[in-house]
């Protein structure tokens, strides 16, 4: 009965989304209907949450009469992965998507009371249309609570690669980011219908953009971290089409964050900001299509039947097509906004936007070209890391090179020479450290050393901007401290995010260029050298987990002096239910570096006995920065979001204007 209540709740959510759309559309000039539309949005969210709770219940109690549970769970699975199984499948993840979609709609209804009534009604209406499309898709084509007349005794279990804590958390964060852009999309469509995009609109949109982008950053980072330690190949980004699918909305979201600041502060770039708002969610939907249509082969892809993929493509075409058609019609009528000189903060942000948009287009080309080529001519083309290294990397290098100038340029008309003067110490330090790396580490890796210089430049530039704001070293320290403590959280968030980007660049360049690796077939007692370590395979024993059997290696890493640095216990697991094997790597953190050890398959020795194991080991220098940097970026975004001016409900209560006036804005 509980499962059937969930099924009914799903259908109720569909009907309520339709009611939300209709009531809000007719409520633009009728407050009671608009309010009822908001009530329907809240109801749709609660109904979807009920269905989602029921699906989790079905997974927890292993109710295999639910087809989705039978296909993706097993009684031996640990509880965490039973719960995570709820979004580990195509149907369940679509339910999670709809949960966020309705949740964001309800959030606009509840938190958006400071918005103009007509705009609010229209935002809720557009969000209702999106909910309607996706929930209809779920109910009619991807029902996660579909029942089986003859349930199997046991479930088929979840792909073992997905049974991992990082991957349990990865989709909820990723989807909250993806779907968060739906609110921005709805704001953009509503503004186009209204025919008004101004500074106030940009301020209303910014917190939603910031929230979605920060959550997406966390989601992507968790995914990269999972790929790093679960797939056992030592890398963290493969330019896999599904990775790219999440990266495209991130790039567009980053551009949107910056262009929305220009629209808010100067009223400029309204059309471009609206365009990016539409594009961010369009890329999110494109990602959903790519992962679910079966057009991709990826460890991430649900790769289900193309029919459902076509339906998703139709939803994408209808929603984005209509939105961009509206944009084409209404954008010319939007006010051009404030003027600015070629050298100004606005220009710097425009340049940043152009490069980020070009980078997103490059990633899209690299992702879709093989699919299009195969579809049109049957030719199989592979686009991998070399393509992106030659196209994406130089673009981003330019964007990062000019990044520190932006915050130091004034609005309207900036002083490039003045900004350069404020950055000379940062530049000097960056160049010096890059040259030092070139001399000490490896003269043959000039580009990598330049990358390190770029990372230091970004960190130095962010610090220089902080110094400039607080007039450190120029004003009395009491003044400096007063300015420092008076800085709004938005400013701290921006600085932290830029430092995070520098940290990431340092980690990525260092790890990619100076990683050392070794692989050898070892018998017990056998040794292998990697980097400055000597690894000894001490033993390999059996181990048993809740739903897997494993061979667990015991590998000791010693330094040049023979001292034990760490003992790793990598595993090679067999999941009997599906007959799949996975590698659980052993990671020994060493400061910013990591020693990464993989136990491979059993092999025959010289005498033919199966008493050898393939051991692969990597020393990944500064790899912790690769994951720490994006987390700093996300933290920066969330700190900015905690800035009172960017909170969702500011101005709702009486007197909020006065309260808000007590906080200062960042000078962004």
């Amino acid at each position: 009965m509980i499962v059937e209540i969930g099924s009914f709740a799903l259908v109720l959510a569909l009907v309520l989304s339709a009611a939300q759309t209709g009531l809000s559309a007719f409520g633009v000039n009728r407050p009671a209907l608009a309010g009822a539309g908001e009530g329907a949005a809240l109801g749709a969210f609660l109904a979807t949450a009920t269905a989602f709770g029921v699906l989790i219940y079905a997974f927890v109690v292993s109710d295999f009469s639910v087809a989705n549970v039978a296909a993706n769970s097993h009684t031996a699975k640990p509880l965490l992965y039973k719960i995570a199984g709820a979004w580990g499948s195509h149907e369940g993840s679509i339910l999670l998507w709809c949960l966020y979609l309705t949740g964001y709609g309800a959030a606009v209804a509840v938190l958006g009371r400071s918005l103009p009534a007509r705009l609010r009604s229209r935002v809720v209406m557009v969000q209702g249309v999106l909910c309607l499309l996706f929930i209809a898709y779920m109910v009619f084509a991807s029902n996660p609570l579909l029942r089986l007349a003859n349930p199997p005794v046991e479930g088929a279990s979840l792909n073992p690669l997905l049974q991992d804590p990082a991957l349990a958390a990865h989709p909820p964060f990723l989807y909250s980011g993806y779907v968060g852009f739906s609110v921005v999309f709805s704001f953009a469509v509503a503004a186009l219908i209204e025919g008004k995009v101004d500074a106030a609109w940009a301020r209303w949109v910014r917190p939603w953009t910031l929230a979605a982008w920060s959550l997406l950053t966390v989601g992507i980072t968790l995914g990269a971290f999972w790929a790093y330690y679960e797939l056992g190949w030592g890398g963290w980004w493969f330019w896999d089409p599904v990775e790219n699918a999440s990266f495209m909305p991130w790039l567009v979201g980053a551009a949107l964050l910056h262009s929305a600041v220009v629209t808010e502060k100067r009223g400029a770039l309204p059309g471009w900001t609206v365009f990016l708002s539409l594009l961010a969610f369009t890329f999110s939907m494109l990602g959903a299509f790519l992962v679910r249509s079966g057009v991709l082969t990826s460890v991430h892809a649900f790769a289900v039947d193309p029919k459902r993929g076509i339906l998703l493509l139709e939803i994408l075409a209808v929603s984005s097509g209509a939105a961009f058609a509206l944009f084409a019609w209404r954008a010319p009528k939007l006010s051009a906004g404030g003027l600015f000189a070629p050298v100004s903060r606005e220009s710097a942000i425009v340049l940043n936007n152009i490069i980020l948009a070009a980078a997103a287009a490059t990633v899209m080309l690299g992702t879709l070209y093989p699919l299009l080529a195969e579809a049109m001519g049957g030719e199989t083309v592979s686009v991998g890391a070399p393509f992106f290294a030659l196209t994406f990397t130089p673009l981003m290098a330019i964007a990062l090179l000019i990044l520190p100038f932006g915050p130091l340029l004034a609005w309207k008309r900036g002083d490039l020479l003045g900004a350069a003067q404020r950055l000379w110490i940062a530049a000097l330090v960056a160049v010096a450290l890059a040259l030092l790396a070139l001399a000490v580490m490896s003269p043959k890796k000039a580009l990598a050393c330049a990358g390190l210089g770029l990372g230091f430049w970004l960190i130095g530039g962010a610090i220089a901007e902080l110094v400039e704001r607080t007039r450190a070293f120029r004003a009395p320290w009491s003044d400096v401290i007063r300015r420092l403590t008076g800085l709004p959280r938005g400013a701290w968030g921006m600085t932290l995010a830029h430092i995070g980007m520098g940290v990431f660049v340092l980690g990525a360049c260092f790890e990619t260029s100076w990683r050392s690796e070794a692989a050898e077939s070892l018998a017990i007692g056998g040794r292998i050298n990697v980097g400055a370590y000597e690894l000894t395979l001490d033993s390999v024993g059996g181990a048993e987990g809740p739903n897997y059997l494993a061979e667990r290696g015991h590998i000791t890493a010693r330094n040049a002096k023979g001292q034990v640095e760490c003992v790793g216990q990598p595993e090679r697991r067999l999941y009997p239910t599906g007959g799949q094997t996975t590698s659980e790597v052993a990671i020994c953190p060493k400061g910013l570096d990591q020693l990464y050890i993989v136990l491979g398959e059993r092999r025959a020795g010289a005498d033919g006995a199966m008493d050898h194991w393939l051991v692969r080991a990597y020393v990944n220098p500064w790899v912790q920065l690769i994951f720490g940097g994006p987390m700093l970026i996300a933290l920066g975004g969330l700190i900015s979001l905690s800035d009172r001016r960017l909170r969702f409900g500011v101005g709702r209560r009486a007197g909020a204007v006065d309260d808000a006036a007590k906080t200062a804005p960042e000078a962004a």
């Binding site: 007719f26 608009a34 009530g39 109690v61 292993s62 103009p116 609005w411 006036a661 007590k662």
Partner: protein, 332 residues
């Protein structure tokens, strides 16, 4: 089913109440156009920034002038909020009433099976345990698994689980279960033969590890008192495993699924035992083993026939009758 419809009605009523509450709560337009409020706040923020020394005098003047101009523009264009055309209350009531009905209709036609009960795994296992007869191997494995999970320190339950897993063509799990049983009680020769059988099934031949397990089984069996029928049984099992390995070795390429022969081999063993009992029926342990084997294999008709014959033969032997009863229920 009535409870389901009550729950559905409550959900629908809640949704309707939210819509009506939203309609009632949606108050009049804010006193000031929200866009003007935003610009007013921006002005205040610019002043605050200048006060904290974070904005130069020139920048402050320029920013303030622009923000003030935008505020004036916004005030001029200020929209009064909703231009109330009509309340739309009738439409609202219709929607609030129709939504649950449409949902119920859609649910019945598209998504729902209102009479279908939930089937949590533990409830199904409980039903299988009480239902008894004619269970398939997967159900038996499920029951045995749950039993062993409830008493994880009981090697007998693990032994039973390993045997069931072996019958259910899951030698990998059977091996792991046998290992767990041996970790608890490493003196049961039958568990060693189960381990050897599961290893042999996986490899298609008697591996060194399987041979070692068979040796252990042999050694433990030899320690049993002479005449103990367990010894004979263990011997039979060892021969069966050895024969299974030999078959696997003969056709390793032609029969990649050589492991699947094993149930047939085990069946052959059981049939051999039945034939032996027919020729020499005075073997109480043999009868117990036969009943147990049929019970584990799920062949209830054969089990009941063997049981009836054994009961008749040992009608006055209460201890024997008890053993037969236990053997009959071994699969549960």
């Amino acid at each position: 089913m009535i409870i389901f419809w009550i729950a559905a009605a409550l959900l629908s009523a809640g949704a309707g109440a939210l819509m009506l509450q939203g309609a009632v709560r949606r108050g009049p337009a804010l006193a000031e156009d929200p866009a003007v409020s935003v610009h007013r706040r921006q002005l205040a923020e610019i002043d605050q920034l200048a006060e904290r020394g974070l904005l130069s005098e020139t920048d402050h003047r320029a920013a303030r002038a622009e923000a003030a101009r935008r505020m004036l523009d916004a005030a001029e264009a200020a929209h009064p909020g909703h231009h109330v055309e009509s309340s739309g209350r009738l439409a609202l009531l219709i929607v609030a009433a129709a939504a649950p009905l449409i949902a119920a209709g859609l649910y019945i036609t598209v998504a729902g099976a209102p009479g279908t009960p939930d089937q949590p795994f533990m409830a199904r296992v409980a039903a299988w345990k009480t239902g008894g007869a004619d269970l398939g191997w997967p159900e038996r494995v499920a029951v045995a698994t749950v039993d062993s999970q409830r008493n994880p320190k009981d090697p007998a339950l693990l032994k039973q689980l390993a045997a069931t897993q072996l019958f259910a063509d899951d030698p990998v799990s059977a091996e792991a279960t046998a290992q767990r049983a041996l970790a608890l009680w490493p003196k049961d020769p039958e568990v060693f033969t189960l381990l050897a059988a599961s290893l042999t099934r996986q490899a298609g031949q008697v591996t060194p590890q399987a041979a070692s397990a068979l040796e252990q089984a042999q050694r433990l069996a030899e320690a049993l008192p002479p005449g103990d029928p367990t010894r004979e049984r263990i011997d039979g099992q060892i021969r069966a495993v050895a024969s299974m390995g030999a078959e696997g070795q003969q056709e390793p390429q032609a029969q990649p699924d050589a492991g699947q022969v094993t149930p047939a081999r085990i069946r052959q063993m059981v049939e051999g035992l039945a034939a032996r009992l027919k020729a020499n029926p005075d073997d109480p342990k043999g009868w117990v083993m036969l009943v147990k084997a049929y019970s584990v294999m799920g062949e209830t008709a054969s089990r009941d026939a063997a049981l009836a014959e054994a009961r008749k033969r040992y009608a006055g032997d209460k201890a024997m009758l008890d053993q037969l009863e236990q053997a009959k229920d071994v699969s549960r």
